[in-house]
């Protein structure tokens, strides 16, 4: 019996350990090691801090880094502000007959590839796009306006891309909110503002956190949206990584950038979890 049990145990643990060590742990260790190496004059690999020094000395690198971080936080907050009323409407306001249908409808666009969604925005907003066509036909515009390639459009695109990951956790926490709490607050004379800030948001905190973490992580690591509809002269940090890897072929520098992005995303996620006293395993459920 004892040996049988250990046989199945081995059967389960071997693929999992192989997966996690060969594809997750060792590659990230390699990433870290690579980032501390550089080629010396003879072309040999030597230990060095030059990749990180480059990052701090070259303003364009750390500015891109800060810009990416700040925009990712902004996108996360806008996504929350846009999603909360929708989640509230679906769980508490609309008649229960429609709420299932509406939440299904909500999921549909997110099954479709991100590329297709970004492409949809491109043909809507570009100079020869659909929106410009309607504005011209209706006489609101005399000549077409380029609505792509600026930061506002990029932020909108990023919010659009990651909205689902905020709405779904919000719906599930709001479903567990007892209506009578809101009724009681209302009977005691609470207005909308105080009900939202003192009942709904505190109750929804776990959902806000898990949505926020996923949205933040996805936005920070996004490449498609900033690349296709963002401004041409203002880079996203993932584009810097891509440039180092594919264009300049400086893998050590790229590794350092990758590691910095990883540190940024992990530390913000860690901070978020600490502030709300939650565990990663609860948040990802």
């Amino acid at each position: 019996m004892r040996s049988r049990r250990s046989l199945t145990f081995l059967l389960f643990i071997t693929p999992v350990v192989l997966w996690l060590f060969l594809l997750i742990v060792l590659p990230h260790v390699d990433l870290l090691l690579m980032s501390f190496h550089t080629e010396d004059d003879s072309g040999a690999m030597v230990w060095s801090l030059v990749n990180y020094l480059n990052f701090f000395q070259e303003p364009v690198y750390w500015r891109t880094f800060m810009r990416t971080a700040i925009y990712a936080i902004l996108v996360t907050m806008i996504t929350f502000a846009v999603s909360l009323p929708v989640a509230f409407y679906i769980t508490k306001v609309v008649s229960p007959r429609f709420s299932g249908f509406l939440s299904l409808l909500l999921l549909m666009p997110f099954w479709v590839s991100e590329l297709v969604r970004v492409y949809g925005w491109m043909i809507l907003l570009r100079e020869s796009g659909v929106l410009n066509h309607f504005l011209m036909v209706s006489g609101l515009l005399q000549r077409p306006v380029e609505m792509l390639y600026n930061d506002v459009t990029m932020v909108m695109g990023l919010v659009y891309t990651s909205m689902l990951f905020m709405v779904v956790p919000l719906i599930s926490v709001l479903e567990s909110l007892d209506d009578s709490l809101i009724e009681a607050a209302y009977d005691l004379g609470g207005g909308i503002f105080s009900i939202v800030t003192r009942i709904i948001i505190p109750h929804a905190m776990p959902g806000i956190m898990s949505g926020g973490i996923v949205v933040f992580m996805l936005t920070l690591g996004n490449y498609l949206t900033p690349n296709l509809i963002g401004g041409k002269n203002s880079l996203w940090f993932t584009e810097q990584i891509y440039n180092q890897f594919i264009a300049s072929f400086n893998w050590n520098q790229g590794a350092a950038f990758g590691f910095l992005l990883l540190v940024l995303s992990s530390s913000i996620i860690w901070l978020g979890l600490k502030l709300t006293r939650q565990k990663l395993s609860q948040v990802v459920q």
């Binding site: 059967l11 990230h28 690579m34 929708v86 409407y89 590329l115 492409y119 395993s281």
Partner: protein, 284 residues
């Protein structure tokens, strides 16, 4: 405020307008993409020049539809192959993971569980570059010591499969674990008492119970793999997957063929989503 409370008219109407705007915002780009796939114009733009199926079936020079477009067709085929292997591998390993974390006790279980969750919070781009670096390191090491050139370690088909598998397996593990939590273990005990060994119990009883979750997770894994861009970008070799091919086309200008492909993708994924949904409804 809510259903059970009296609401003022402006509040209800305002809310309805907001949600209406939200849903139009959600669907507008998709609807426009689909509609323009049928416009008889060489550019995916208005004005409307009449209905056509050219961008699907056309084979005239300059008006080649998707069904005759060899570049995109082969990219779709590559994506299918990648998605097939990714969903196969990740359902097998993910199911092993679910059994491991739900039914086995061992040292460092918490640490391993945490490691299993890590791919969810690592940006896809980072996963891509670290796997690329590591494969390259291995390739160089193997070449120097054994004088062997192993194609697996260069960007290409199998590296894409492994890269996507590395985070999709986490998702499968979580989905299958959630189902395994609901499993009544007395059924296993009964079978063990009746003389089955542990592997027989798992094969005949536990896996039967898990089947809907495994199929559902496999479908999601397939879809995620088919659509993955971030991780694939760094690992792709000469055989580009569909998102990579489409990205290059979208970046350098666009033709209504891209709309036609998008239309097929939207219809295909919606169907898959519906199938997946009916499956998960059934298991409840």
């Amino acid at each position: 405020m809510i259903r059970s409370l009296p609401n003022t008219r402006p509040y209800t109407i305002g809310f309805k307008i907001y949600v209406g705007l939200f849903f139009s915002f959600l669907f507008l780009p998709l609807v426009v993409t689909c509609v323009l796939a049928f416009n008889d114009s060489p550019f995916p733009a208005l004005p409307w020049k009449g209905f056509t199926l050219t961008w699907f079936t056309g084979d005239q020079p300059g008006r080649v539809g998707i069904f005759h477009d060899t570049v995109n067709l082969s990219a779709i085929w590559v994506s299918f192959k990648v998605a097939f292997w990714v969903s196969l591998l990740s359902t097998i390993v993910g199911t092993c993971g679910a059994f491991l974390f739900e039914q086995e006790q061992f040292r460092f279980k918490q640490a391993l569980y945490f490691l299993m969750l890590a791919p969810l919070v690592v940006p896809g781009v980072i996963l891509g570059i670290s796997i690329l670096l590591f494969a390259n390191t291995l390739g160089v090491a193997v070449e120097n010591t054994f004088n062997l050139d192993v194609p697996l370690f260069r960007p290409g088909f199998w590296l894409v499969v492994l890269g996507q598998f590395s985070f999709i397996a986490t998702l499968v593990t979580l989905v299958v674990s959630a189902r395994l939590k609901k499993f009544d273990r007395t059924l296993e005990e009964a079978a063990l008492n009746l003389g089955a060994n542990r592997l027989e119990v798992i094969w005949h009883i536990t896996l039967k119970f898990l089947r809907p979750a495994i199929i559902g997770a496999g479908a999601v894994a397939f879809l995620m793999s088919f659509e993955n861009f971030n991780t694939t970008l760094f690992l792709v070799g000469s055989e580009a997957t569909l998102p990579i091919t489409l990205y290059l086309q979208v970046r350098d200008g666009s033709t209504p063929v891209i709309n036609a492909i998008s239309f097929l993708l939207i219809v295909g994924t919606s169907l898959l989503a519906l199938i997946n949904l009916t499956f998960s409804r059934k298991k409840e």
